[in-house]
């Protein structure tokens, strides 16, 4: 008997599975934060989570709404100043994985969180880069999680806020002291990895029940599929339970603070 779950749950659970106990993860807010904490509450209890607000090795009981919620600080090993966070901990080489979300991603895994349209006359102004531009180059590798649609998966991003592999897939070649870049992208439909040679994002696994056509339809370029295409394992009951309890606790906590 198979369990019922949403594609969003499938995404979070798959993203969580990418993290292992020995990783030190610099966590972006939103989907990455949900996945990272789910990992910590399931198979990777000792994964080290770091938020750019300065909280080192934090273990929040509910998901933070912002990157600097009190919960993150209260449950952290210690909290450092933000310049120290970016200088010593990120640039200093202590982060194994940067876990990012994005508004747009292109076939070379470049991320745009700056704007849609022209920089000086934006159609939509987005929040901006935040920590991502340097997380993407100073972390040893980068995981990305984002909902799959033609709006997000574009052939070329309008603006490279955060480099994946550049406009030609070669942006990291011969650059000293730079991480490997995006190694996996997890969506609500599938898992993508950069082709080892060209760095173009390629579908390596489809989530249960998802067809190639759905992925093609939701992607703004002629998406490639790996020769041997895996099927992502379905969520386990434990994963679903922990995720749902986490989200319930979180909703109750944030609602409970209304004046």
């Amino acid at each position: 008997m198979s369990l019922e779950y949403t594609s969003a749950e499938m995404m979070s659970i798959t993203a969580a599975r990418a993290l292992t106990n020995d990783m030190t993860c610099f966590v972006g807010i939103g989907l990455p934060s949900e996945a990272a904490n789910l990992a910590r509450l399931t198979h990777a209890p000792d994964v080290t989570l770091i938020y750019e607000s300065g909280t080192l090795q934090t273990r929040p009981d509910v998901l933070p709404l912002s990157i600097g919620d009190g919960e993150l600080c209260a449950s952290a090993l210690t909290t450092v100043a933000v310049p120290e966070m970016f200088r010593y901990w990120l640039q200093g080489g202590h982060i194994s994985v940067g876990f990012l979300g994005t508004a747009q991603i292109d076939r070379y895994a470049n991320l745009n969180t700056t704007l849609i349209g022209d920089y000086r006359q934006p159609k939509v102004r987005l929040p901006g880069g935040g920590g991502a531009p340097e997380i993407a180059t100073n972390a040893k590798e980068v995981f990305i999680t984002v909902t799959h649609s033609r709006r997000t998966f574009v052939k070329e991003v309008d603006f490279i806020t955060t480099v994946g592999f550049g406009r030609d897939g070669k942006a990291r070649d011969n650059v000293p002291n730079i991480g490997r870049g995006p190694t996996v992208v997890i969506t609500d439909l599938c898992v993508l990895k950069p082709d080892p040679a060209t760095k173009e994002l390629t579908v390596t696994a489809l989530h249960p029940g998802v067809t190639r056509e759905q992925v093609i339809e939701a992607t703004g370029w002629e998406i490639r599929f790996a020769e041997t295409l895996d099927t992502t394992p379905a969520p386990t009951e434990q994963e679903l339970t922990v995720l749902r309890e986490l989200k319930e606790r979180t909703a109750a906590h944030h609602a409970g603070q209304a004046q």
Binding site: T55, I67, G128, T137, N138, I160, V163, H254
Partner: protein, 272 residues
């Protein structure tokens, strides 16, 4: 030595039209009360500096106080856009807003360099990003020892910095604790500084390596209980996450925003 002033007096005396102003706080200890006082006093043409401009900057921008914003992430954390910021950038309402955009790493280093009295910060940053194409303040230098190409940005040295902190002692020494962000750097980098505090106490109760700003490194202190609400002050009150969510609807609509401003800043805040 820091001078104890009312918030009204501190803002009147130390923040001038046209100033570069950093109101720092990384989600925690956002100086909302001071921001509202700036709006009430009708300050104009400010260049606002902050890594994470959030609701208080949205309010300042919507109220017409700002001509320029220097920032690295301008959103309502966990909720979405800052609609007043977007309206200013996209539609020039209530007036055009020039923006100068960095990454967090660069701004954090620029504050650090400002506190360190240096004209520039050096970092391994902006590799492959389009940001240097739209921000001419981002340059690249070559390391004289290794030849590595590194990013350089000007240090940040605001005319005035405003931060909120937990408490001051009677001599005007201030304790900041929890998520301390770049508050210390922002104060030390500035020509003048205003610190709002929850309370004044006899003894700070600071641990041996606590983040304490000495009185002689601060220009003015204003007591402002709940001065960081709806953000939070560790040990005093929690973040009102529900308000952050509600702000989305308020800020989406110019009229709703103006009504909110009238009621909550011009009328209600003026008496406090």
């Amino acid at each position: 030595m820091a001078e104890f002033l009312s918030l009204k007096e501190a803002v009147a005396r130390h923040i001038h039209d046209g100033d570069t102003l950093a109101m720092e706080g990384f989600t925690h200890l956002i100086p909302f009360a001071a921001g509202h006082e700036i709006i009430r006093q009708g300050k104009r043409d400010l260049t606002l500096i902050r890594m994470t401009p959030d609701l208080v900057y949205d309010q300042l921008i919507g109220a017409g106080c700002a001509k320029k914003l220097i920032f690295s992430w301008g959103g309502n954390p966990g909720v979405g856009s800052l609609h007043r910021l977007r309206d200013a950038v996209e539609k020039s309402w209530p007036q055009p807003l020039e923006i100068l955009e960095h990454s967090h790493a660069a701004m954090a280093c620029a504050f650090e360099a400002g506190a360190a009295g240096l004209p520039l910060a050096v970092l391994r940053g902006y590799i492959g990003s389009d940001l240097p194409k739209v921000n001419d303040q981002i340059r690249f230098i070559e390391c004289p020892f290794t030849g590595e190409r590194l990013a350089a940005v000007p240090s940040i040295r605001p005319d005035v910095t405003v931060v909120h902190a937990q408490r001051a002692d009677r001599q005007g020494n201030v304790l900041v604790e929890g998520i301390v962000g770049v508050q210390k750097e922002a104060v030390l980098a500035a020509k003048r500084s205003i610190v709002t505090v929850e309370e004044v106490v006899d003894d700070l109760g600071a641990s041996v390596n606590a983040c304490v700003l000495p009185s002689w490194a601060i220009t003015a202190i204003a007591v402002s209980p709940r001065g960081a609400a709806p953000s939070y002050a560790l040990g005093y009150y929690e973040r009102d996450n529900a308000f952050y969510k509600r702000w989305d609807a308020i800020a989406r609509d110019r009229d709703a925003f103006q009504s909110w401003l009238q009621e909550n800043v011009f009328e209600e805040g003026a008496v406090s």
